[in-house]
């Protein structure tokens, strides 16, 4: 590790420490982690989406962006396997 890598790593470490100071206090009552979004899902799921299964409405509607990422991960795994494994190998 030459000195330039060390400097860049130190700067990045400092940047992370600086960004961490801007995060909300996890012990505070008003922190987003304690906002209890669960109650909102349970109350609003059926009127919002007409879906009795709260798991589905959270998975595909409220957290749809997360599920899109998961689906892309699965597709990427399939693409990686089809790129890495040799095409015409007749092993078995």
């Amino acid at each position: 590790m030459n000195w330039l890598t060390g400097v860049i790593l130190a700067l990045f470490f400092g940047l992370l420490i600086y960004a961490e100071s801007d995060l909300p206090d996890s012990r505070a009552v008003t922190a987003p982690a304690r906002a209890r979004v669960v109650d909102l899902y349970i109350e609003r799921s059926y009127p919002d989406t007409r879906t009795p299964n709260i798991v589905t409405s959270v998975l595909a509607d409220y957290r749809g962006y997360d599920t899109l990422g998961e689906t892309v991960v699965i597709l990427t795994a399939g693409l990686a396997v089809s790129l890495i494994l040799p095409r015409n190998s007749r092993r078995g």
Partner: protein, 144 residues
């Protein structure tokens, strides 16, 4: 893993079971609104039925009905369905993946979100289905 087994009991039972497995897979995908299920689980069951046919009836037969190339296309179309379910509401004045702004006339906001979930689950099911069949074909070493 090459060719068919030439066992009439195995071939008969598996080709009898596969339509029921596939109907159950469609049920699991569409029943995700009301109970356990959804695109991931239904896609896996659908892929399992194709794998059963590949194992028993042989790849030469099964590749004619559902080729490895078609599996890749199914997976790609599935992710496009999901992406467009997110992008179309963006064009109609909503947020990304905000199904309430899907341009389907005559439906209330809640019903639009209901159908948006169904569209998205279908896309997820197609991705899982196509990807698992692709993985199976490549791991088993058959030509794509």
């Amino acid at each position: 893993m090459r060719g068919r087994l030439h066992n009439p009991i195995v071939e008969g039972v598996s080709s009898f079971l596969v339509p029921f497995i596939q109907i159950f897979a469609l049920y699991v995908i569409t029943h995700g609104h009301y109970g356990p299920g959804g695109g991931f689980q239904g896609g896996v069951i659908l892929a399992a039925s194709m794998m059963l046919l590949r194992l028993t009836l042989g790849e030469e037969y099964e590749h004619r009905t559902f080729s490895p190339k078609l599996a890749g296309i199914v997976a790609a179309v599935g992710i496009l369905i999901y992406a467009f379910a997110g992008l179309v509401p963006l064009a109609w004045g909503g947020n990304f993946l905000d199904y309430a702004h899907l341009p389907i006339p005559g439906l209330s906001s809640a019903e639009l979100r209901y159908h948006g979930i169904l569209i998205v689950e279908t896309g997820v099911g197609m991705v899982v289905w196509g990807t698992l069949v692709t993985l199976f074909d490549h791991l088993i070493g058959s030509e794509p």
